[in-house]
Symmetry: C2
Subunit: 388 residues, 2 copies
């Protein structure tokens, strides 16, 4: 647990921060928030939290919201207060500030490989109920060795590839063999399977998503049947996301769903066909300032790649008729107006919907909660940068 170098570096950041006023303080009007800043519309956010919790409860399925979407313990605590049974993290180090904030039931929805990470994992397992994923016998042996060494115990889920083509075992036979290996190893407990299909979350059509989801569920059933035939109990089936949640909860397969983006939405999820099914409101915005109006049609704002991710496309300007965001540079986004009459003016403040909320949160030290035109909360994005 040596943290001296990192501590000194963060202390360095503290010294510098003293010279820079915060972007906002509680009670500030919207107009007083410095830019670029990440804003959370608390009314829309709370509506989203309630809607997903209600959906899960209607179907008797647990909600375990994914914290990788925001990396902010204050957000997880609000999800727990409404009935979420725990959270997911994607990395071991990411889980540290959540444990520090009092979260005690964390599923690390990923494989954990490497000695430093296994040591940290064991330390977390002393403080909270921790489960992880595995998809390789050598990895479960390393998990067991680390837990033995540190006198900790760990729940392990076999990750199953149900079409994502990323991590996960490929066949029911592998699932059974890995579950048996986990059961045979000291200080590990086989907890179930994870079947997350990220790709299907983003399919545009509702029917298309439903079909993909049904296909994935069919695969999950094969793995569950194989486990049953081998006499292995599988208490947990975890997976699902914002795009597929309505189908996942009704599948009779998942015991819990891992959705994360539903709390915020982004242009990627926002552009999906939601049909008559559950939809969520945009609650997350980037606030920018117009810092140049060099031509009658062009306005340039101070939000760039260091404040919003752009690998999923440009962010979308809110409430500006006939104005498109046509480019995102390191520290600028370029707004193009069809009609000069609609071009924003120098100094105008612009709200943008990010195209991908997870990496966008990870660019900010704080998210500013607003309600009724005022700053109500400033929450640290405590796991920002913690990807080990």
């Amino acid at each position: 647990m040596e943290g001296v170098t990192q501590l000194a570096q963060r202390q360095n950041a503290v010294d510098q921060a003293m010279a820079i006023a915060p972007a906002a303080q509680i009670g500030d009007a919207l107009a007083d928030i410095d830019t670029p800043s990440l804003l959370l519309d608390l009314d829309a956010f709370e509506d989203n939290l309630r809607a997903m919790q209600a959906l899960a409860e209607r179907h008797g399925v647990g909600l375990r919201p994914h914290a990788k979407a925001h990396r902010c313990p204050d957000i997880s605590l609000r999800q727990l207060a409404l009935g979420a049974q725990g959270i997911c993290c994607q990395k071991v180090s990411e889980a540290v500030p959540f444990v520090a904030a009092g979260l005690r039931n964390i599923h690390i929805s990923n494989e954990v490989v490497g000695p430093a990470k296994l040591t940290l994992l064991a330390q977390l397992a002393h403080q909270a109920d921790i489960t992880v994923c595995a998809d390789h016998p050598a990895n479960v042996e390393a998990l067991s060795d680390a837990m033995l060494k540190h006198k900790a115990s760990l729940g392990v889920l076999v990750e199953v590839d149900v079409g994502q083509k990323r991590c996960g075992v490929q066949t029911p036979e592998e699932t059974v063999a890995l579950a048996q290996r986990i059961q045979a190893l000291p200080n590990l407990q086989f907890m179930g399977i994870q079947a997350y299909h990220g790709g299907l979350q983003h399919k545009h059509g509702l029917a298309q998503r439903q079909q993909s989801c049904e296909k994935a569920v069919k695969l999950v059933r094969k793995h569950l049947e194989a486990l049953q035939q081998a006499g292995i109990k599988c208490p947990v089936v975890t997976g699902g996301g914002t795009g597929s949640a309505a189908f996942d909860v009704a599948s009779d397969v998942f015991t819990e769903i891992q959705a994360g983006t539903y709390a915020f939405m982004d242009t990627d999820y926002g552009s999906l066909d939601w049909g008559e099914s559950l939809a969520f409101r945009h609650s997350l915005f980037l606030l920018g300032t117009v810092m140049s109006t060099p031509t009658p049609e062009r306005a340039v704002i101070d939000v760039g790649l260091k404040s919003t991710s752009a690998e999923s496309g440009t962010p979308a300007a809110v409430g500006l008729e006939g104005v498109r965001c046509i480019a995102v540079n390191d520290e600028h986004s370029i707004l193009q107006a069809d009609d000069p009459a609609h071009r924003p003016a120098l100094g105008d403040r612009i709200r943008l919907i990010p195209s991908h909320c997870d990496p966008t949160f990870n660019l900010h030290d704080t998210v500013i909660g607003v309600r009724g035109g005022y700053v109500e909360a400033i929450w640290p994005v405590s796991a920002r940068g913690l990807s080990r």
Copy 2:
């Protein structure tokens, strides 16, 4: 200068950091560095610094390296030690840790709009020689008001749009009018013009870049002639970047060049046609670990969008024959091997070249300097997240 909220938040980060061991310590072998981490090959980095400094000196042009590429004062200090005349920053808050580190000649190569930023700008101008860009009369009036109020003085350059289609005045007449306005306003000094064309930096062909550069230089000359005809001295013409540096220094127009990426290179710049002209070595790498090998052809590593930006494409795996990085997710990159014999194994450590160094640096709290297989330096990316 209230920093209480931000300070408390960063302190919070310090408390958490205590539980997480640093990714590396000075003297560690490469094999002991935890992942994902950002590595700097110090030999290649120093070669790049010397090469660009020598190029500028051969042509009697100043080098003012752009700190937005790295946000790390330790890097700027090394550029200064080799003869750079100062640095560029892109944002006011970004400049704060550089001033704190002793940098005293900083050009903010951007328009600064909004009261909080103008206050911070005046405070910086008390501590260092600061210049900024402007492209609007209302903005130069706001600059003058802020400097008057805080009893500071500021150099101002007119930004000229030479084809970038972002910020900047459009005509020589506008340049003259804005220069005159700057000269007439108290506490401002007209310093010259900025003519930066980001787009041309990335044109693939060497001849294509040269032609675009010559076109831009022609435009710059028109603005310079107009200033001369109006009797306005223009001591500084700043601009240029890594892709155009060889032409910029020979143009007889630029008094200084603002290149930044040359110190590191990325796949975007690395893929350019450099012909016989100056080329630079890749010095910046992401270090990852293979955490899943679910199929004979697929290996998944622990470097994702939270450790490397991907809006300019996927990063490139180094030294792996027949292996391509085919996708970057939040916390994973997927490597695909043409031949299973070439697929990396579980636990293998992989080096990647980022596709865009500027936003990639901004995802990391530290950059780890390596030489001869060992960690020689750990430098804080002190301006990480400072985009106001």
